[in-house]
Symmetry: C2
Subunit: 265 residues, 2 copies
């Protein structure tokens, strides 16, 4: 089985794309035409994936929107992950961060049972949270480092905690540990790359949150031949159109973002 | 409907108990006699709750162990929460910490759909994570403040981040925001209470992790008539016996802890 790292390399080269497509498939926001389906979240995701699989280098389902739909939502998540082509990595956005047998249980649930290639992890409790994940060869974890929201200043930027986290990430194997760095943190993107020269960045926050592709491509990439970034976009792509043509429109918006990003390389 | 705070007050007085019973009901560790059941986790929890509901002041299911069992595990969690007597609060240990519509989705999933009275929350991303929870009147969130694991020194104790979090918690309504403070942090328990004089503490880490009841009762309580603590115990109670008598034995161990704690009041 391919590792996250291998899939990312393959998909980003084959599709010429650094787009991470966030599957924030909130049941309450789906096209009304799907609500007659037995499991609308699954059907929605299937159509989105079918329409975009040649335009992205990663899919990122967000656990919250599946948990909110109860056991059926979790079923939709399982079906979604299984449907993603085997050469495109799946990164579950769950931001878990626990220790010991609890973290082992999350790792087993997500890496073994659900079968995703990577998860987002909250490092607040320290290095203990990483340990249970390190048994999973080929999987990656992305540690929250500097998030895109305004209150990142409360703790992450307090006393430069984010720089300490970044230094710790840089000490790990870059094929195993990545970093979440918000595109809105414009004045810190260069610093983040300097502190983590080889790390793969998952970059949320472009568009509605105020970050922009130009800043990211100027300051956050490693180099033009091996940029080591994933630029996430979720609702702007998947909910671009609520008619029966939702998937075709999502593909158009994903393609626009893909091309915009490539124009800087 | 009673609030978390009201339920905690009622249950702790009625049962004369400060025990929070952690339902870490890992499917792989259940008594073998239950494995023939259609949903062993649910039956296990039902029996544990039936046997201990006069000995505890809170139940704390841990999301990881239900997610690991897939959609059926989530079903067991729903049934478990519904089975807890209405005068005993249920605190979901999920350590979520996200923002905006993602956090709103977690809050809806846990407070509305699942129907728990409180959740644990990771504050790393700052005050933005609290906002979506504040719409839920009567619910509580417990912020990770100083966890019981060794690597809490990596970030939480770095530059005294935990004290900053504690100060922020103290500024909130104590019936809405509590704190997770590990029993193993013996030298900081008095400081935590000093910084958060009115806050309800959820205290993990007694027993196997090395914390002890004497330290907690000496240093972490508010006062003897209104101690404002919940002392958690999970596996030591629920997995005390793996025979068909598991529930009766769990009740005995829970009662022993209850009495030990009460002896300091």
């Amino acid at each position: 089985m391919l590792s996250f790292w291998d899939k990312y390399q393959q998909a980003s080269r084959l599709n010429k794309s650094l787009v991470c497509l966030g599957l924030d498939s909130d049941l309450n926001k789906l096209p009304s035409s799907l609500l007659k389906e037995a499991n609308p979240q699954w059907i929605f995701n299937r159509e989105i994936i079918n329409a975009t699989q040649d335009k992205v280098s990663c899919y990122k389902p967000n656990l919250a929107f599946y948990l909110e739909a109860g056991p059926k939502g979790l079923q939709a998540l399982y079906q979604t992950v299984a449907h993603v082509p085997s050469n495109i990595p799946v990164l579950l956005d769950c931001k878990v961060g626990d220790i010991g047998n609890t973290m082992s249980s999350y790792a087993k649930a997500f890496f073994e049972d659900l079968g995703v290639d990577a998860i987002t992890v909250n490092p607040l409790m320290g290095r203990d949270v990483l340990e249970p994940c390190q048994d999973y060869s080929g999987k990656m974890i992305f540690l929250l480092t500097l998030t895109s929201n305004p209150s990142a200043i409360d703790y992450l930027k307090l006393d430069s905690l984010y720089q300490r986290i970044a230094n710790d990430i840089a000490s790990f194997d870059h094929t195993k540990v990545g970093a979440v760095v918000g595109a809105t943190q414009r004045w810190d993107l260069q610093l983040m790359r300097k502190l983590m020269p080889d790390t793969l960045f998952l970059i949320p926050g472009i568009g509605a949150q105020g970050g922009n592709v130009a800043d990211v491509m100027h300051d956050a990439i490693r180099d033009k031949t091996d940029p080591r970034i994933l630029i996430n976009s979720s609702r702007q792509i998947i909910f671009a159109d609520k008619s029966i043509h939702f998937a075709a429109k999502a593909a158009i918006v994903a393609e626009t973002l893909r091309v915009e990003i490539q124009s800087y390389l």
